[in-house]
Symmetry: C2
Subunit: 326 residues, 2 copies
Amino acid sequence: MDYDELIQLFKEGSYRALSRAISIVENKEPGFRKIIAEISRTGGNGYIIGVTGPPGSGKSTLVNELAWGYRSIGKRVGIIAVDPSSPFTGGAFLGDRVRMQRIATDKGIYIRSMASRGHLGGLSAAARNVSRLLDAFGFEIIIMETVGVGQSEVDIVKAADTTIIVSVPGLGDDIQANKAGLMEIGNIFVINKADLTGVERVEMELDKIIKMAYHSASWKPPIIKTVASRGEGITELIEAISKHERYLKDEGLFSQKRRGRIEEELVTLISDHLFEHFSPKIEDKVSLKALTDKIINHELDLYSAAEAVVESILKEKDKGGVKIET
Amino acid sequence: MDYDELIQLFKEGSYRALSRAISIVENKEPGFRKIIAEISRTGGNGYIIGVTGPPGSGKSTLVNELAWGYRSIGKRVGIIAVDPSSPFTGGAFLGDRVRMQRIATDKGIYIRSMASRGHLGGLSAAARNVSRLLDAFGFEIIIMETVGVGQSEVDIVKAADTTIIVSVPGLGDDIQANKAGLMEIGNIFVINKADLTGVERVEMELDKIIKMAYHSASWKPPIIKTVASRGEGITELIEAISKHERYLKDEGLFSQKRRGRIEEELVTLISDHLFEHFSPKIEDKVSLKALTDKIINHELDLYSAAEAVVESILKEKDKGGVKIET
């Protein structure tokens, strides 16, 4: 389908058009800028929920149940599952395919896997663009799910309106440690698989962390116990999310958070565009090879080399030639 | 201690100076550029080994044993352990402190934890700078250890001369899936805890992946079985690493890989420096707030906004004023 047709079908609510648009935006294929410009004319109404936690915490099941919970109160739900997947599997694991089969029968839920790697301009930017598409498509709830390890992955859930950190009893210390870096970004803590032994210990630990990290915060993250595989605790979780949404809106933090997010993205894009503007000049006129030789031979350090390149580009910009002594 | 004293002590082999220098470089404190310039005059002799695998695979024990193995053949070993740690714990977990106590008695092994988050210019760049410091300090083996999830974390081990992917029998599918994205970057596969049941299954899976992903590669990754907690398989692992090193050097790939790494870093730094050069102009003269308003009100999309800013900066550069219609 051509571009105008794609946009038209997207607006008419075609899931095929949505999937195609996401692929274009995710891979920055030709036309991606046009699509972003087009969808930026609408949207902004979807509520974004970030869900993260260690492998084995049952995140996917929890997210599925959360989606069904919202569905039962009439909301349309879009899910972005960021997986550290392989190029071999094309971004979808067996588990995901099973998830999609079950969910595909309901037109009110859409699930999309994103690979963790290989995104020009960064994973976080790509995920936000996909979230923007889901928003423009009309999903009222957008859930972004990531494994809670890794800087880019955490950046994704941090950008949500409400961020949920999932813990689970009985994982080894090595695994629980992965949560540590997440603790300061959680708005709601979930202990999933709360029917397992050891739930009290996890609760005590979380309690301690909340007291420590949030002692001066006006929002104290609640701890919600769930057994996602049996749908237990989901209603309570949805209630906690609503409460957090009301808190954000009452305090004026909702739009403030979103403003901050957009400003941050804008600054990153400006940086990218600047580099794009200058990079042909770098490639054509500066001998990166010669500079690399100098660095390898200990005649120059990386930072001084980079500085020299930038100075030359800026100085010689309008004179049509950049020359670096090599 | 002042800067000259620090450099002097570093050169004399003071571990205290090394630790201080790493902190300065890691946090980009004042003087970090000077330190990088200074240490770039030497080094380049350390062999860099990347070790990654899922939580619970016993990576830390394996890395410790590997370090002792190298120590027993007279090599000095520096370890960089990248952990998705918390600001609360200051980057070191209990597990790390235990490791450090045991290792601190041997002056030939140095271990440093790095937090996964909060690095200006990226985790991967920070880790490479720390590795450069260890190299200049005289460590012949540098081991970079990360949890094998997350883009930045994988970038770190990818930059090693030899990359080791650790698997383990009996982890759930959810956890094993995390390995998938790593498979194409492994030079050596280790099955740790090889005394557990299920080791044959993991071996078969790895075999399949190697056949698929490396069928046209001239280096076929060997599979080494270890029980790190008992020191079993470590000699075989060191032998496999040596073999890979010889392969890289015989094929001319060793210096090629290192060149590529430096060129890549150079391009990233050029981009950073360009942005640094222009960012005061952006902050002073462009109303990011007004642009953000337009984006929120659906009058402008992010990409067009960024483009407009860049165009204005470049056009008005020498005229002393940037104005964007808002």
